[in-house]
Symmetry: none
Subunit: 413 residues, 2 copies
């Protein structure tokens, strides 16, 4: 079963709004076993709507349309669809009741243009909008389904989940698509590709692989198609197991979990706590950790020692060590990790000291040179990294590398 | 001048990645006076790429293509474009140098598939990728321009800003459009709209206004079109001056400057320094401040006191005060600001303590309750905020509100 998505709205074409509806719809259709072959964004323009409907219905069986259903003049989708399907209008009583209800709740006066929203093309099956005033519309023509939905995300989402997907499942005998994403860090995409080349080549025909790189992270997405859900799950899990045999050290989790979430789970499981001492990352590691709800169970705090005086006064790093080795050195970063662990009384202290750039690099220590240390009760380790030229990326990659050092220690225990 | 955008990537069609490239590209093209008429997302599939190129070139003069340029097997855009434009390949020496440089900087081994990226279709003008290994490609055919760019956002953005837009401006002698963005914070969009309604109505016909809201920030973009650059500048500056007369207190800068950059400039000008004591923001303020290159000139460090023990031990907050008032209180946040200022020996101490959520709220102090304090040499002030339900947004809005309190103090002096 093939689908296309058509998002209508001038605001999308001038870049004022990011099209989050498209990715959400695509993800829901995929989960239901429907393949999205194209997403098209067009203006609130009659001819553009006509053309894109013609084109989409030649390629796909199901056409999802969002946007342009508001009560104001610039919203022309309903009128245009009525013309496209050569349909007159009828008054839809349940929608009128819903409009009255919404205006009463918000204590707003009901105007003519609001009541107008209860007029629907007679050739469609109206879909009640539980969270707004504009109804959805389900058309069928020459074996194809066209569903028009409001552009307001939370109105559209409820309509898709509660009405549109169940109707599609009922109407079509839907095949099954299973996705599993393997999250890796600490290895560049190209190196990973070489390591898993043979595994990739032996994948069964119905399992596809995609590389999805982000700064410091490469996601490997396996997509399996077939009729039997159980069988697919087994097949995908078998392949993931083989993959683990090859690149286990780089895999930090599955299905879009973040490394900071994984670390949180491990620390909770071990009843252990964490503090950070950050120089070049400037609080970014602490920010990632505290972005996770409930992180106060294991994260105690951090000392951001941007200036060397903070390294000596708050973390107890020896100023002689800083003078002799520089702030970006094994000795100093180890002292930072031990210092914060001691000061904040945590199981682990994680420390980073590096040159994020653009300034501050030398020949011996160019921009991107980063030392990371982890201190535990009877254990200190430090590692040297060379990242790139770009400040923001250096900060991001340093943070991920630091979190990964902690993760590897926690799973090795 | 009409443009279309084609985003290539299976990850977009299964909804795993939100298409932020499309909105960014659309916005940049718009700013250059180019109208985007359609955005199409397709799979990494040869036929889909061929079809969408055919279709787009019938409707538009400029076709922006992103994605599918990685070194791995699933990325087929380069090969497909070479076929589409009936072109062989040549080795592009500057790209090879760039690839070698990137791998040397990161101290990674250079593999065959990386070197392969320096092969470019001979019929294109290669565009050097300053931030990555995959070059962009500029093709021209039958008076139309086709530009292919990497899908990694920061690689694509630098290429568009530094190479693609300037080339388009030169090629098409684009009419002059002047943009000026007024950055505001501390006021919701709807309130702002009412305050500036009369000013908006009196704007000359060639100056258009767009509201661009982000969490905690509303950008007002003025776009003026005309032939004479000098005249446009005067006209736009006149309107901005009028606007300052109405909403001066909310304006923190112009043209996408960040509030953390503005604060850096003010602190440097005053020869003053800053430290932060962060509870619910968990290091996010320190992260924003240290995202600015050169921030070590004024930012000394931070104490992230996630646990109350850190508030008492490292910041000197009285434990009785915490017991009596709670950690989220005027008294505690003021003590945090004074404490960090004293401990880190800075001109200012900025402190935040609040309930980010989703847990930890009470009837008296629901999720979103945030206290912020600023301490200077002879001055302490604290302010109470009520943000929303959403953890990430509460952290972001708390940080912006804190930075704005500091900014208002610095410009008032």
């Amino acid at each position: 079963m093939r689908a296309e998505i058509i998002n209508i709205g001038d605001e999308l074409l001038i870049g004022q709004v990011v099209n989050t509806n498209a990715s959400w719809m695509a993800s829901e259709l995929n989960k239901a076993g429907i393949t999205v072959v194209r997403i098209t964004t067009i203006a609130d323009d009659r001819q553009a709507i006509f053309n894109s409907l013609d084109e989409a219905s030649q390629r796909a069986d199901i056409i999802f349309i969002s946007g342009g259903l508001g009560p104001t003049k610039d919203d022309i989708t309903k009128k245009t669809l009525a013309q496209y399907f050569d349909s007159g209008f009828v008054f839809h009583e349940p929608t009128y009741e819903q409009i009255k209800f919404i205006f009463a709740t918000r204590q707003l006066p009901l105007t003519e243009i609001n009541i107008e929203q209860a007029q629907v093309p007679e050739k469609c099956t109206p879909l009640l909008n539980k969270n707004g005033t504009a109804p959805g519309m389900w058309f069928e023509k020459e074996g194809k389904v066209f569903v028009s939905m409001p552009g307001v995300p939370f109105e559209m989402k409820t309509m898709v989940s509660e009405q549109v997907i169940p109707r599609l499942q009922e109407k079509y005998h839907l095949g099954f698509i299973l996705h599993k994403t393997v999250m890796t860090t600490g290895v560049p995409e190209s190196t990973l590709a070489i390591k898993i080349m043979k595994w990739e080549e032996q994948l069964p025909e119905n399992i596809k692989l995609a590389y999805l790189p982000q700064p410091g992270i490469v996601r490997l997405r396996l997509s399996a198609t077939g009729g039997d859900k159980k069988q697919l799950e087994t097949a995908v899990n078998d392949e993931v197991d083989k993959l683990k045999g090859i690149i286990d050290e780089y895999i930090f989790g599955y299905d879009d979990v973040s490394i900071e979430e994984v670390i949180g789970q491990l620390l909770v499981a071990h009843h252990e706590s964490l503090s950070t001492a950050e120089s070049c990352t400037g609080g970014y590691i602490a920010h990632l950790i505290t972005s996770v709800p409930g992180s106060s169970r294991y994260f105690i705090g951090s000392i951001i020692s941007y200036a060397n005086a903070v390294k000596t006064n708050q973390l107890g790093v020896s100023s002689t060590d800083i003078e002799m080795n520089g702030a970006v050195s094994r000795k100093v970063v180890m002292a930072m990790a031990k210092g914060v662990r001691k000061q904040l009384k945590t199981t682990y202290g994680l420390a980073v000291s590096g040159i994020a750039g653009p300034d501050g690099g030398t020949k011996e220590k160019p921009v991107g040179t980063v030392w990371i240390a982890l201190a535990g009760e009877e254990h200190v380790e430090a590692q040297l990294f060379h990242f790139g030229e770009h400040r923001g990326r250096n900060i991001r990659r340093s943070a991920l590398a630091g979190l990964n050092i902690l993760r590897l220690h926690l799973i090795d225990k």
